[in-house]
């Protein structure tokens, strides 16, 4: 498989400008002759669909939700980065670029990251013009806060619900295009296959979640903006319906899957309270601006937190990383929490958390200021735990939150299948091995608003005058038949276990062996257990109900089936990457101080896995990464 990243020529700061001038254009009058399919209506998909609709293309947008406003982008709390330098504290496009490459532990493509930093500035302008009520200072100008992995204040926010406000902004633009007839929306409709004809993306097969009917749609180009795969772990901060199916079905049709082992474990989530738990809830990283993280020094500590004197507390992040302190990047903060909890110093009834303490900040700034900044987060915490963070410290523990890996894309966001694009969390491109806080919203919006609408014309222009492959083409019929058989198959097994019970068991294997710390031995164990469990799934699954009306159990079965195959390549990727970098920590590769140890000589590369028909034997292709601007260095936050 050839991996051509198509990085434009020229100095880093001119690449995107050069590209935009050199690419082929489609003139406004010709755009209506093209059909584009966009799957997913979160920040990336919604923004792409709206913008392509505005430009004059015929767009079909698909979401499995009842409305585009439900996409999981909505749950992002803390904020969105942009190199505006409104605080005059030394920020610049170059610094955001530098921080992101370094934060990603030197495993991202420089050219993509620089473009992201450039576009970050326009995102804030665009979203403000659309009416996103970002937080403001008394003078009426925009406010900023700080986030992990940066020493400048560059994070824009809307209370603790920035993702919600940005998604509603995108949703409103999308609804406008729907109202104008430029975008046709298919809600409660799930992608079940991608169709490739003569080596190009020809369209998709979808399943109506209310009637179970399958239908084919064809277009000149297909965009997947279908999010990440954290739910492979069962327990994650992702919404219940988040799944890998769209990306995985594309992978099975020839799209390479890059760096699947790069998963982000977010340091500040509410610890699990028991086995019945269905998902974990994130507490925004922005809380680390004012909260101090600590655990008792003594593993046998029994006093309640306010009675533990200063000298008996270990502010371990401040101690180990004095210059970044509580704002150390996510991978580092997560692992540090795991270390103290593994030492038996955990807090709470199950001793599975650490404290995030606001007492100092409340003393310094007053309860009103803290309420203003984090009020809704504190309320959410109290609703879940029945404890008030104004009175006692929060308890937090890391949880799976985001996946940096995803479909391999070139500079144009095109996968290895011509005409098939991936945007937002669904692709792998910008965050390397670790994503900095407040960068996911930035990437989704950059891809959807500014990158894809510029790159897609380069592919479309030469196709002027062609019509999409008709949906009665044998490839579409074959894909429909395969999907019919697949869903009928789940119903026909008639075993004893629900899809959820398999998902839960798979998630436990993944968390134990492919979670925060990975070992060769553990990964090999996972690689023997997963196929066995998948086999049991095929034999003992029980899906009640029918395939011809709303059946959430059946939907779940299809998603879990795909997670089984993905889980294997995640473990294989983690096993082959014999180094530690960012969110991928191999216990065999650490420094004497317990920090991640990269191996740049052998692994400064992207691993792009190719489907072979056997989920246990994919082919590993590589794209070398070169660093001409940010020099490879040991990432230090001390």
């Amino acid at each position: 498989m050839e991996l051509n990243s198509k990085i434009p020529e020229g100095p880093i700061a001119e690449k995107w400008t050069n590209y935009k001038f050199d690419r082929k254009l489609v003139n406004p009058a010709n755009r209506r002759k093209y059909d584009i399919i966009v799957v997913g209506t979160g920040l990336a998909g919604g923004a792409a669909a709206a913008t392509l609709g505005e430009q004059g293309y015929n767009v079909k947008a698909f979401t499995f939700h009842d409305s585009p406003r439900r996409a999981h982008s909505i749950a992002a709390q803390g904020g969105i980065n942009a190199a505006k330098n409104y605080k005059g504290d030394g920020d610049s496009v170059y610094r955001l670029f530098y921080d992101t490459v370094k934060g990603g532990d030197f495993r991202a493509r420089e050219a993509n990251v620089y473009r992201l930093a450039e576009e970050s500035v326009r995102i804030i302008d665009q979203m403000t013009a659309q009416g996103v009520p970002f937080a403001r200072e008394y003078g009426g100008l925009l406010d900023n806060r700080s986030f992990g992995g940066a020493q400048v204040s560059r994070t824009f926010y809307a209370r603790g619900q920035t993702g919600q406000q940005l998604l509603l902004g995108v949703y409103q633009q999308l609804e406008r295009q729907i109202g104008l007839g430029n975008v046709a929306l298919y809600n409660r409709t799930e992608l079940v296959d991608v169709v490739v004809v003569d080596g190009r993306a020809a369209g998709i097969v979808v399943r109506d979640l209310l009637t179970g009917e399958l239908a084919s749609h064809s277009a000149h180009a297909v965009v997947l903006a279908t999010g990440g795969y954290s739910n492979a772990f069962f327990l994650s901060t992702n919404a219940m319906a988040c799944n890998v199916t769209a990306a995985w079905r594309a992978h099975r049709k020839g799209a390479a899957f890059a760096n699947p082992c790069y998963t982000q474990i977010h340091p500040t989530c509410i610890p699990q309270s028991d086995d019945f738990q269905s998902k974990l809830t994130l507490m925004s990283e922005s809380l680390r601006n004012d909260g101090r993280i600590w655990c008792p020094k003594d593993p046998d500590e029994t006093r309640s937190p306010e009675l533990i004197p200063e000298e008996d507390r270990d502010y371990y992040l401040e101690r180990r990383y004095p210059s970044f302190g509580n704002l150390a990047p996510r991978d580092i903060a997560s692992r540090a929490a795991k270390i103290v909890v593994d030492e038996g110093k955990g807090v709470g009834p199950l001793k599975n958390g650490v404290y995030l303490d606001f007492a100092d900040a409340i003393g310094r700034l007053g309860e009103d200021t803290i309420r203003e900044r984090y009020g809704n987060l504190f309320e959410m915490y109290e609703r879940i735990t029945d404890e008030s963070p104004y009175q006692q410290p929060m308890r937090i523990y890391p949880a799976v939150h985001y996946t940096m890996g995803g479909l391999w894309v070139d500079y144009e966001l095109m996968t290895t299948v011509p005409g098939l694009y991936a945007a937002g969390e669904a692709n792998f491109s910008d965050h390397g091995a670790n994503r900095l806080g407040a960068s996911a919203l930035m990437q989704g919006l950059a891809d959807g608003y500014f990158v894809l609408p510029n790159t897609i014309s380069n592919y479309l222009a030469p196709q002027l005058g062609t019509t999409p492959v008709p949906t009665d083409h044998p490839e579409f019929k074959a894909a429909e038949a395969a999907a019919t058989e697949r869903f009928a198959g789940y119903l026909a097994i008639g075993g004893t276990r629900s899809p959820d019970s398999f998902h839960q068991e798979l998630g436990k294997i993944m968390w134990d062996y492919c979670g925060m710390e990975r070992t060769k031995q553990g990964l090999e164990k996972a690689l023997s257990e997963i196929p066995a469990l998948h086999e049991e799934f095929r034999k003992d699954l029980r899906v009640t109900g029918s395939g011809t009306s709303t059946n959430q159990t059946l939907e779940k079965a299809g998603r879990v089936d795909d997670f089984f195959e993905l889980a294997q390549v995640m473990c294989l990727d983690a096993l082959t990457r014999e180094e530690s970098c960012g969110g991928h920590f191999r216990a065999e590769h650490q420094t004497d101080e317990g920090e991640a140890e990269r191996d740049d000589d052998h692994f400064a590369e992207v691993a792009a896995w190719e489907w072979t028909g056997d989920p246990s034997k994919p082919i590993r292709n590589t794209e070398p990464l070169t660093f001409d601007n940010v020099h490879l260095a040991v990432r230090s936050y001390k």
Partner: protein, 256 residues
Amino acid sequence: MSELNVTLKVWRQAGPDAAGSFDTIKADGINDEMSFLEMLDVVNERLINLGKEAIVFDHDCREGICGTCSLMINGQAHGPAKGTATCQLHMRKFHDGQEIVIEPFRATAFPVIRDLMVDRSAFDKIVASGGFITAETGGAPDANLTPIPKPVADAAMDAAACIGCGACVAACPNSAANLFTAAKVSHLNLLPQGQAERYGRVEAMVDTMEDFFGSCTNHGECQEACPKEISIDFIALMNKDYLKSKFKNRRMVSRK
């Protein structure tokens, strides 16, 4: 942590046109740390183990922000906890031996799809008719060019916090969507960026709303049910702008 035994009376309906009825389901051994939806997950798991169909209900983020979950619980939209969506409601709010009646959100504009799942796409149609600021991608000026006084930005944010769940409609004796519509109108009409389309927006959105929903008679049930505690003051703001729009837009009601 303690265990509860509760009795659920759940609305089951096979399809949009089927007749529905209540099913009585015993839910024993429910841990009070569970969320309400986790309790339903447990009940569904048990139903599947018995070879029965799981109860269909809408849900997704389980963090109270996506607005997908709904449910009338003992006659209250999103249940008994104030300012809380169903997914953030916990079983500790219920007592051992309690009977819990679970129904879908009921309104003509929200037809039942199956069991507890309803179709709320009428909300999207209201937004499509004018719930946006026309600012196509590419031409935006610098974000700090237009300062917005903090109280104005805060008030817009208060309105924009709406999650579009439909509890306001379900709680309203008239099935009116005035709180939902007013929240979106006010969010955009308060901001300087929203002024150019202010009166066109309010007129189009209110007119579309009236195609689907009942009329507001100021009961205030919507504000009580709203999981984001959005104030009915916004309805007054919307009504004021709507009235003005009939003059500003030079389209008198009688000539329509």
